[in-house]
């Protein structure tokens, strides 16, 4: 079977989705880099495409624009004499963010798109932009109408909130009676008690607070042991955040705990990347240091701390305070939930992706 590429693509760091056209169906290929899953939707069975406007594009614009602004400020600051390699480095990073910001604007408004058939409603991640969705429909609509016939607007208008009665089915006489169609199972989220944040989240919040405290101690009183334990607890924080994310994906937890955990993850990634970038800037400026190996860099950090890196020191203070507050907030929310003994549930009408035809 020969497949032809259709408009529509989603390229993420870990996930990629593309659409292809077959003889009598279209194929959604959803890849997580190492495996691919295939979902086929026959033109004769497609009932509707549903699109919902989202703010994802605007959020990305804010993040990319803010990052571009930050690094442009770093560049201007580093360009002041005596200028070194830092300004070039920060300027390059700022340029990347500016290009990404413009690209995001060019891609246009974002949306989420689903395809509905008689048995499933399946999201199509490849149609996350309104323009791509329009181009996709322009190609696919004639193919669907070729199989199903043109749409009768009158019949469409007649569709009301109450679904029609199911058709009568006469089972063969000597076959066992078919099981009655059971009502759709309630989504797992309704009626069940919410799991309060357990020990994993407690450990994560504790690790956040301890790590922040150790970072602050090392910034103020730099020494080898302080640096060592600070780095060690950074690793502990990472492991605990990832474990907490895995645990909360398998249990139903309150929205507050989930948001705090995700904020911790995003904060950790941003902190790590920014510290990495700032370190690179420092090394560019002191190029002689890396000629003697990375050990000298860490040795300088341990003995002198961030005295020679005011930007990084300020950023590290900010991050330490951020994680301290986040950890304390997490503990506060945990204790409040345990005391009150109630949690909120958010029912999602589309319980998961449904059973898409593969």
């Amino acid at each position: 079977m020969r497949y032809k590429r259709l408009p529509g693509k989603k390229s993420g760091f870990f996930r990629k989705c593309t659409l292809y056209r077959g003889e009598d169906h279209f194929l959604s290929v959803e890849s997580n880099i190492y495996t691919e899953e295939y979902f086929r939707f026959h033109f004769s069975e497609i009932q509707a495409f549903i699109s919902k406007k989202t703010d994802r594009g605007k959020i990305w614009s804010v993040i990319l624009g803010f990052s571009a602004l930050i690094f442009t400020t770093f560049t201007i600051n580093a360009a002041a004499p005596p200028a070194g390699g830092e300004s070039t480095f920060f300027g390059t990073v700022a340029g990347i963010f500016i290009i990404a910001f413009i690209y995001n604007l060019w891609l246009g408004p974002t949306c989420s798109t689903w395809v509905q058939t008689a048995v499933t409603v399946h999201e199509l991640p490849a149609l996350g932009r309104a323009r791509r969705r329009r181009r996709f429909l322009a190609v696919v609509r004639p193919l669907i109408e070729k199989v199903q016939g043109p749409v009768d607007p009158g019949r469409i208008q007649e569709i009301r909130s109450a679904p029609p009665a199911p058709p009568e089915v006469f089972p063969p006489a000597d076959f066992p009676s078919p099981r009655p169609v059971e009502p759709a199972a309630e989504p797992e989220t309704s009626g069940l008690p919410v799991n309060n944040a357990g020990p994993v989240h407690g450990i994560m919040f504790g690790a956040l607070i301890l790590s922040a405290g150790l970072d602050l101690y090392w910034i103020i009183f730099p020494s080898f042991p302080a640096l060592f334990f600070s780095l060690l607890f950074t690793l502990v924080v990472l492991i605990s955040i990832v474990t907490a994310l895995v645990v909360q994906s398998q249990r139903r937890m309150t929205s507050a705990i989930r948001k705090i955990t995700w904020t911790a993850m995003i904060g950790f990634v941003v902190t790590f990347l920014t510290n990495y970038v700032l370190s690179m800037g420092y090394l560019f400026r002191n190029i002689g240091m890396i000629r003697n190996g990375a050990w000298e860099y860490y040795s300088t950090l341990a003995q002198e701390g961030l005295a020679d890196m005011p930007l990084m020191a300020g950023f590290s203070f900010f991050c330490a305070a951020f994680f301290l507050i986040l950890g304390a907030l997490g503990f506060f929310v945990m204790i409040r939930e345990k005391v009150s003994g109630k949690g909120s549930s958010s029912r999602k009408p589309f319980a998961g992706k449904g059973s898409a035809v593969r």
Binding site: Q47, I156, R160
Partner: protein
């Protein structure tokens, strides 16, 4: 299956059924439930009667062939793979072909029919990432480079995807791993020398 969602479109966010008057409008329409902007493109399958999936039984007459799996049922079509006679219950239509459940199961497990493949492993991506990412910690490449070469050779002929794909990632991975092995060899010679 949720019987309520037949012939009706629901808001993805709040589940509110959307009346037909909001379909096929060339603009976003606000959902009555959550005020999300929705755009619905509906097709005749929304109002066309559903195909009755229940199999029809047809008892075999004296001078007719019977189904291999249901001797009491009339055979209507032979299996295109094994030739066994099939009744309407056993007949599985796959494109233009009619096959029996047993052959269908074999085709699924062998992945010999592209239409039945639902998942594939991308060995070329695995090999390429195995060649590239360990460079960040270069000393690991002494293990990963030969592993990459092995993967490229072992999985070269394995079907990668149902959509058209070249083997360029395998070639790139092999080349990078080959260079890494070469550098290790150069380092070893230098150390010994």
């Amino acid at each position: 299956m949720d019987p309520e969602h037949k012939n009706i479109v629901r808001c993805p966010k709040c589940g509110e059924p959307q009346p037909g008057g909001t379909y096929n409008i060339d603009d976003y329409v606000l959902c009555a439930g959550c005020k999300s902007g929705l755009r619905i493109e509906a097709f005749p399958a929304m109002y066309q009667p559903h195909h009755d999936p229940s199999p029809k039984r047809s008892p075999v007459k004296a001078d007719e062939a019977s189904c291999f799996y249901h001797p009491a049922n009339e055979a209507v079509v032979p299996c295109d793979v094994c030739g066994r006679f099939l009744c309407l219950i056993c007949d599985i239509e796959l494109g233009n072909r009619h096959i029996c459940p047993s052959c269908f199961e074999k085709e699924v497990s062998r992945e010999s029919t592209p239409e039945l493949v639902s998942k594939r492993v991308r060995y070329d991506n695995i090999a390429l990432h195995l060649a590239i990412f360990p460079v960040l910690m270069w000393f690991i490449t002494i293990v990963t480079a030969p592993l990459t070469v092995f993967m490229c050779i072992r999985y070269w002929k394995t079907p990668l995807s149902v959509v058209p794909l070249t083997r360029v990632r395998f070639i790139l991975a092999f080349f990078i791993a080959f260079v890494q092995i070469g550098l290790w060899g150069f380092l070893a010679v230098n150390l010994m020398g």
